[in-house]
């Protein structure tokens, strides 16, 4: 295979040898060090392939063995070049192609971000794009070290960043910092206030003055534990200082959920019929080769992208898109009352998992249904026992009151 390609580049001729002893002719040629291949018998003559260089040495062999030979076919680059010798623009085109390739390989055509978990790639790409590292920028004009320094200064979450450009691909390697723990400044005085309405179930105070007790009803914003330390009662009360309150206050809280469950639902049923089409995206311009005039009524399109290039390091600004259209039919399902109820409970459970605090204990779920013309109207009340406290710094309160 590789030898074939090499022979095509060097050029070879197919010759037909006739005479009394073709074998002797071949032996002599081989003895001289020529390479002969694809020898085949054609009845009166023998056909074989020799290199151009070898062909010139054949004259002597033919004279000695009394054989005659003639060229049947010519193959390879030297003959092609000879054929194109009058087409002056042809080598110019090749030259232009090479030059264009060289010119285009001086640009960055793909920027990749790797190593990020919390930080979004799009954010980093946007930041770098504004500062001159994006697809289509000249490779030389990218100041990698400066960019890396700027990026690590701008993003707090980046502890290390390296921008590497190999070929036409820029790879941004990031190491993120460890998630920062929230530092609580215990010297800063604060109250603990209610972040919602509820009935207090338990109060544990390790610092501060408790203002509520078990069974109290509190509204949102009520002070539960005060950071102001008071000695004495009534008119004799004296403020002796302020502290950072620490307390665990739990309360019974009520949440209302109102939503509708419909009796019918439209679903997809894939028929299994698919169609494909291809398109090219060159320099962000899409070229469609094949566009169906009457595609299916309902379909999902799945697009597979592949960036063309030379190996992994030389992507080109050409993206090959492969679309698959999957036809589907829609059908409606109708739920029974029992199924609608099941769905209701499932929806509530999902919302509890998604929206509620991890430490919230669900005490009770009160679900009321009302049948309406297209399904169910659900009014649910979820009762939880959970932490109700929220820190409010005293200096922030003063700021607000002074404004």
């Amino acid at each position: 295979m590789i030898l074939n390609i090499w022979q095509n580049i060097k050029g070879y001729v197919v010759i037909e040898v006739t005479g009394f002893s073709v074998e002797r002719f071949v032996n002599l040629a081989v003895h001289k060090g020529l390479y002969i291949w694809d020898v085949s018998y054609e009845g009166a003559s023998v056909r074989m392939k020799v290199t151009i260089k070898g062909f010139k040495a054949l004259k002597d062999c033919a004279r000695k063995t009394g054989c005659r030979y003639k060229i049947v076919e010519k193959h390879g680059a030297p003959f092609t070049m000879h054929k194109f010798r009058k087409r002056k623009l042809f080598p110019l085109g090749i030259l232009a192609f090479v030059a264009l390739l060289y010119y285009l390989s001086g640009f960055v055509w793909l920027v990749e971000v790797e190593g990020n978990e919390r930080l979004e790639s799009a954010l980093i790409l946007e930041f770098l794009g504004e500062r001159g590292l994006a697809a289509g920028e000249r490779r030389r004009s990218v100041d990698r070290q400066n960019l890396a320094r700027e990026a690590s200064a701008y993003f707090d979450d980046i502890s290390f960043i390296n921008i590497g450009i190999r070929g036409t691909k820029a790879t941004v390697s990031i190491a993120e910092t460890l998630p920062r723990e929230e530092i609580i400044d215990k010297s800063r005085p604060c109250d603990i206030i209610a972040r919602g309405d509820g009935i207090i179930t338990s109060v544990f105070v390790s610092r501060g003055t408790p203002m509520v007790r078990e069974g109290d009803v509190v509204l949102r914003g009520d002070v539960l534990v005060s950071g102001t330390l008071v000695v004495g009662e009534g008119d004799e009360a004296v403020i002796i200082g302020q502290t950072h309150s620490i307390a665990q206050v739990r309360a019974r809280q009520y949440y209302e959920m109102n939503f509708n469950i419909s009796r019918t639902e439209t679903r997809k049923n894939f028929t299994g019929r698919t169609r494909r089409s291809f398109s090219l995206n060159i320099l962000n311009k899409e070229l469609n080769f094949l566009r169906y005039s009457n595609l299916y009524e309902n379909y999902d399109r799945i697009t597979d992208r592949r960036q063309l290039g030379f190996g992994a390091n030389y992507p080109l600004p050409i993206i090959f898109l492969h679309h698959t259209y999957k036809e589907f039919e829609t059908y409606e399902i109708t739920r029974s009352l029992e199924e609608m109820r099941e769905l209701t409970l499932m929806t509530i459970t999902n919302r509890i998992i998604r929206e509620f605090d991890f430490d919230a204990d669900v005490i009770e779920k009160i679900v009321e249904y009302e049948q309406i013309n297209y399904g169910l109207r659900v009014m649910a009340t979820v009762i939880t026992n959970e932490n109700i406290g929220e820190v409010r710094y005293l200096d922030e309160v003063e700021d607000m009151s002074s404004q």
Binding site: V26, N27, V30, I36, W37, V46
Partner: protein, 109 residues
């Protein structure tokens, strides 16, 4: 008398292995040292892949070539290959490749 004996001994080895005295010695050395025979004794190394691809290394020359029969001269005698649609895939100074439908490989000593 001694000469005759020697000749007889030589003759016997020649008969058995078809070798001259010089080759007989090199044969013994090669087998004692486990050297590759095709290198030391210049014997042909013949490789057959199925019945369609045959390579003969260390060959001396092509004696006959047609679609049904190829005869190759080697140090171990003439190798006659018979088959159908035989084709010499490549020929270099010491290597010849035959492809086609090979049916028979014979040594003519």
């Amino acid at each position: 008398m001694i000469k005759q004996k020697k000749q007889a001994a030589n003759a016997s080895t020649n008969l058995n292995l078809n070798l001259n005295p010089k080759q007989a010695i090199s044969q013994k050395i090669t087998s004692a040292l486990e050297l590759p025979k095709e290198v030391v004794m210049n014997l042909p190394l013949i490789t057959l892949i199925g019945n369609e691809d045959m390579t003969v290394e260390n060959f001396k020359g092509v004696l006959e070539y047609s679609e049904e029969r190829v005869r190759i001269n080697t140090t171990a005698g003439i190798v006659r290959v018979e088959g159908k649609k035989l084709l010499l895939k490549q020929i270099t100074a010491d290597n010849i490749g035959i492809v086609g439908n090979i049916m028979k490989v014979e040594f003519l000593v």
